[in-house]
Symmetry: C2
Subunit: 518 residues, 2 copies
Amino acid sequence: MAGVMQWLSVASRRSLVLSRTAEWNASGTLKTVPLLTRGAHVETSSARIEKLVPNEYDGPLVKTEVPGPKTKELIKELDAVNKNAATVQSFVDYDKCLGNYMVDVDGNRLLDTFAQISSIPIGYNHPAIIDVMKDPANLSLLVNRPALGVFPSGSFPSTLANVLLSVAPKGLSRVQTMMCGTCSNENAVKQALMWYRGKKRGGPPTQEELESCVIGKEPGCPPYTVLSFKGSFHGRTLGCLTLTHSKPIFRLDIPSMDWPYASFPRMKYPLEDFEAENRAEEDRCLKEVVEQMEKGLATGRDVAAMIIEPIQAEGGDNHASPYFFHQLQKICKQFGSVFIVDEVQTGCCTTGHFWAYESWNLPEAPDMVVFSKKMQAGGYYFKDEFAVDGPSRVFNTWMGDPPKLMLLGAVLDIIKRDNLITVARESGQVLLDGLKSLQDKYPDLLSRARGMGTFAAIDCKDPDTMGKVSRIVKNKGVFMGTCGTQSIRFRPSLVFQPHHVDIALDALDSTLADISVQ
Amino acid sequence: MAGVMQWLSVASRRSLVLSRTAEWNASGTLKTVPLLTRGAHVETSSARIEKLVPNEYDGPLVKTEVPGPKTKELIKELDAVNKNAATVQSFVDYDKCLGNYMVDVDGNRLLDTFAQISSIPIGYNHPAIIDVMKDPANLSLLVNRPALGVFPSGSFPSTLANVLLSVAPKGLSRVQTMMCGTCSNENAVKQALMWYRGKKRGGPPTQEELESCVIGKEPGCPPYTVLSFKGSFHGRTLGCLTLTHSKPIFRLDIPSMDWPYASFPRMKYPLEDFEAENRAEEDRCLKEVVEQMEKGLATGRDVAAMIIEPIQAEGGDNHASPYFFHQLQKICKQFGSVFIVDEVQTGCCTTGHFWAYESWNLPEAPDMVVFSKKMQAGGYYFKDEFAVDGPSRVFNTWMGDPPKLMLLGAVLDIIKRDNLITVARESGQVLLDGLKSLQDKYPDLLSRARGMGTFAAIDCKDPDTMGKVSRIVKNKGVFMGTCGTQSIRFRPSLVFQPHHVDIALDALDSTLADISVQ
């Protein structure tokens, strides 16, 4: 089969054993495949792989250049409709996708380590999700979209309790559903601002407040602010954009509120080798935070809340230590501000914890935790004391979408049944070890391997190299995401097993070898 | 059946013929029902009603007080989860809903003239929607939620073209999907701001712009504004809230951008009887608009765009004349600003036009038209020239939800097959005539009957009366929405036929009679 590159890996769990050492590249040339040796993880047994998704494909299959001709044609077709198709990577044949494998309209089967921007929880076409969506008992929830704030179904309270509250961060007994990560952040921030203002006011609003807020003026609309961090990403609506400080493309030409921000630590990796330097860097950032809080109070522009990602994702996979987050929580308590953790990307097990913040061992939970993506349903958890103090203050037409909660119910069952938190830890360890090996092997091309669970990344030499890696590795059958200026980021689904890690790392190794000789 | 009020209407289309003159109220007392006579619309034939939704119920059935005991219990249960359940009117048994009838968990069957805040297009459990959701060919789109900006399905471009573009406003050849009305408004406004800034800049952004925008500062984040109107409602995220000027509860305690607004005409109804007064009122508002545009230019705070609802909904069902909108479009052209029409609530046939703006007969379409609600999919149409000028400027993880487009496809087929635009016009005429009759009959209680299609409203004497009407009429088996300070608003689905109007108006008549004698 000329023009066909086929992976035929037969690997035991937690190991890499490729049964062949040659592959066809996209242009039909046979070349040898560098086999990466990863010390303890290499086993010689050819034990059968225990696939978490039944009948999952054995490996990628690249039939055309990626993107292929059909995808290119469809990009033109889509661009004629929305003039916004340049970001499209592939058009996908969702009927054929399974588990970790995405099949595009050109027949290419790619191992997907990006999972729809980190939003596919248990792989494609998981039988448990199919069962839920085919269940006639669920049909009326698919057909009749309710306004959840006014006419929820009779099953809605128990669904919230049994599904969403079953994984609530400890101490956050309340949950508000929303549509997506962005509107969840918008509403969490709103609710925090209402709480802060209510606390300061200490009673019902004045007539002047009620009248002035309708036209967007003080005192009804207070000049309070929400603090965020350099490198942050919290969404793309106007409020969330004010809280976002990663790439220019997000905010260029969009007016902004004048809200404060502080530096997010720029750590050295591996974290354990640079404790002193990293602590100094974190203290520098904490000092900025305190300065902003004090400045806010002094100018009547109180910092009502702080919002932060456990690991800055879009901004380049920036980690901080538990110490940093402990201090932030303390600062929030000191200033009476709401501590909001945006777990839209880190939540739902991908870090090897259900919520990434659990790794910090805080004395108590953050005040609010926002979720979306892998949870499929958007929303936020909050402590009882931060509840809104009246009807219709946090409200919109739909306030969520019940089929997404059905889907999440099935996802949580599978996470539990298949112990997917452990899988994320195990696969994450194999992945991080492998990335470190590759960075040792290609010190001129790679650096700063880092990760928690499968939420991992590595830096390329420069943005151009990142672009090359992403393009070449895709043509070797593996889709990898990017972030920051020059990072490759891994955001696989929760059924990404060690043998998938092996395939991904092998393709990356081969890619780097190609680039090295260029 | 003590405690049961049953409607047994047998009415010919476009007529009201009730077969009984007595009903049981919720407390089990038998009382006479006032039969409203509506001149030309009363016929004596008992011709069979042609139901647009097969097997739809014949009328409401009230078994308990509404809300009933099970709903009250579930409100407590929901409030324990989200502390935000006070807005819930009923918990619904969606399996039992059909057409215009909502059945609650207490077994009450209510004629629904509000349709989930105007968002149910062709009634509950319409067979055409059930067929689409059960179709195995659509299953993978329900199971695998794509990031539409990166990995859309192969069918996505043709779905956009065949579904969304098939009802595009004339001249608006492009469409961008989003999630809900709020994020559609947010992104339409963003895209307008980008366009305006790009036009002023006349070239690529400067290094200073790229650097300053990341931290939310000028010149990268320009001080441009978007003009909105008093009484407006465009959503509840921070950007949309800045554009919203209806009720204090929406904005209290939330910081705002300092953006301009102008008065929306406060018309006298019926419009045709007060042409001179209404023209003067509209000219007063137009003057304010021009002043704000000029002030913006003079201060470097250019009004980049204007956003307006064809009929202000949440703000109290405020209408304006085609003249007003013609002038607004002219003003936008004069100042080089983007003219955005928010048809989230008015769109999709409810006004007797597919888009309400069509009733204005503008020389050309608005620059952007935003939709959601009855369309089920959110998004906005725009003229080619307002397209974004680069990748990833309008983007988020999901950018919509394909099952909602499947649903919309079925809805549009039924709208066409059953000629539902005509139904909205006919039912709307019966409704408006009936409201005018009622306002003649109860001049101390009702005024300002107004409407376009079934998008209709009438004012109550005061907010307290509005509350009473809404509560009592619900207990007579009809759910009616409210808006503004004291309006009852009608927002039925598109299968709301004249015989449903009759049932609704009879219940309203009976309610007003009850209130009159109190």
